[in-house]
């Protein structure tokens, strides 16, 4: 899945809904629609410039991609959204290790409760987000006993940089 696809998907889907429930709605990316796209009048032979994600949309896409990784073990999308983000590995590598060991997760994952741009320039941006981690259980490895975990709520900061004409997540961290 390319960044262009992610951008189109994010714009098409809008942003995630906010709920006050303790059991968060997941920020999973829904499956792509198979219904035919509306016919566009052919006014030019040049393909339209794909819409780029804003910093806030990039963070939402990162959270959806992280949930996809939790659900399936596929970390390609989340890595594509932060190719130089070392702190992203804090969340991605454990998922990769768990699935590599034959384990899995049973959780609805991350949910953005609130999100706001704290600062933004042409080169970088900082987004604060109130995030809920849902309860669930982890099976650390094939045949291992499940490890149950409770819900968590965190204020998190996402730092982004503008590179290659798109916003990329460069740091994800907690504000304790």
């Amino acid at each position: 899945v390319t960044r262009t696809h992610l951008a189109a998907l994010a714009l098409a889907l809008g942003v995630a809904a906010v709920s006050c429930s303790d059991e968060p709605e997941p920020d999973f990316a829904p499956p792509e629609s198979t219904s035919p796209a509306p016919t566009e009048p052919e006014t030019t032979s040049e393909p339209p410039e794909p819409e780029k994600l804003t910093p806030e949309e990039t963070v939402r896409a990162w959270v959806r991609a992280q949930n996809l990784a939790l659900r399936t073990g596929n970390t390609d999308e989340v890595r594509a959204l932060g190719p130089r983000c070392q702190s992203c590995d804090d969340f991605v590598v454990p998922v990769e290790e768990t699935y590599a060991a034959g384990g899995s997760y049973e959780t609805t994952g991350w949910r953005i409760v609130s999100l706001k741009t704290q600062q933004k320039t042409a080169e970088d941006a900082e987004i604060a987000a109130a995030i809920k981690f849902s309860r669930g259980q982890t099976i650390p490895a094939d045949g291992a006993n499940p490890v149950a975990f409770g819900p968590q709520r965190h204020i998190m900061l996402f730092e982004l940089t503008h590179a290659a004409k798109e916003w990329q997540v460069s740091l994800v961290g907690f504000v304790p």
Binding site: G173, V175, P176
Partner: protein, 243 residues
């Protein structure tokens, strides 16, 4: 309390907008690596630390921690229009307890260097049908980790040593061997050749939380050792005459 929280949020929400996450220079917030449990995994994550005198922090006359958590967190909570009580401090009833299985996971993530195998005779050569001596120098050690906001001490003990002689033979002992002449672990190679023996060390551990009673950590961790080159040669008796 509620009024105090709201007042804090109002006070710091505007400051949080320009909150930097700069390297530590005594005046700015910075990022520190901490251990956290996220979805059942113990991860090393980044956590923002803001000194009392930092930009956007407190006025320097009070600790940056108040009844509902870090003031920076309160500021962001205000900016995000969420309750600081919910997001700025792990609630005791929702935080998972520090249990043996969680500690076992922490133990598996503690970097433990592989044991160094020492062989006598030295210099990477020994003889066929000779009691080659093996030993290592692993000892009990302690590590302290911050787990779910609590100080957890781990007393890690090398419990078993599995000696792999690379000729199809292996033995497991509870002793780490000893240098000559206190022979504890020896092996006779029966044929000449080149082998790469190693010793794998299995650790068990005890833990205690916040200085409490020691408890055993379930399970164990085995750290494979590093192989060493060893050439096995034959020795022929030779009569030596004296003039």
């Amino acid at each position: 309390m509620r009024a105090r929280v709201v007042a804090t949020c109002l006070l710091f929400s505007s400051l949080a907008v320009v909150w930097p996450a700069a390297p530590a220079d005594g005046n700015h917030c910075y990022w520190e690596k901490v251990q956290k449990f996220v979805f059942g995994n113990l991860v090393v994550a980044r956590e923002q630390v803001c000194p009392p005198h930092s930009e956007g922090g407190s006025d320097g006359t009070t600790s940056p921690i108040n009844d509902v958590g870090n003031l920076a967190c309160n500021g962001f909570a205000g900016s995000l229009q969420v309750a600081a009580e919910e997001f700025c401090r792990a609630l005791p009833e929702t935080a998972p307890a520090v249990t043996g299985p969680l500690i076992a996971q922490a133990l598996r993530r503690i970097p433990i260097p592989p044991a160094v195998l020492k062989v006598q005779p030295p210099n990477g050569r020994t003889l066929v049908n000779f009691a080659t001596n093996f030993y290592t120098d692993r000892e009990e050690f302690t590590r302290t980790v911050n787990l779910l906001g609590q100080r957890v001490e781990l007393r890690i003990t090398p419990a078993r040593f599995t000696w792999k002689f690379d000729d199809g033979n292996a033995i497991t002992t509870t002793k780490p061997g000893a240098p000559y002449p206190r022979l504890q672990v020896t092996h006779d190679y029966l044929e000449k050749g080149e082998v790469r023996p190693r010793v794998d060390t299995t650790y068990t551990a005890d833990f205690r939380v916040n200085g409490g009673a020691w408890q055993p950590v379930p399970g164990s961790v085995t750290i494979p050792g590093e192989s060493v080159d060893l050439e096995i040669v034959e020795a022929s008796p030779t009569l030596v005459g004296y003039n």
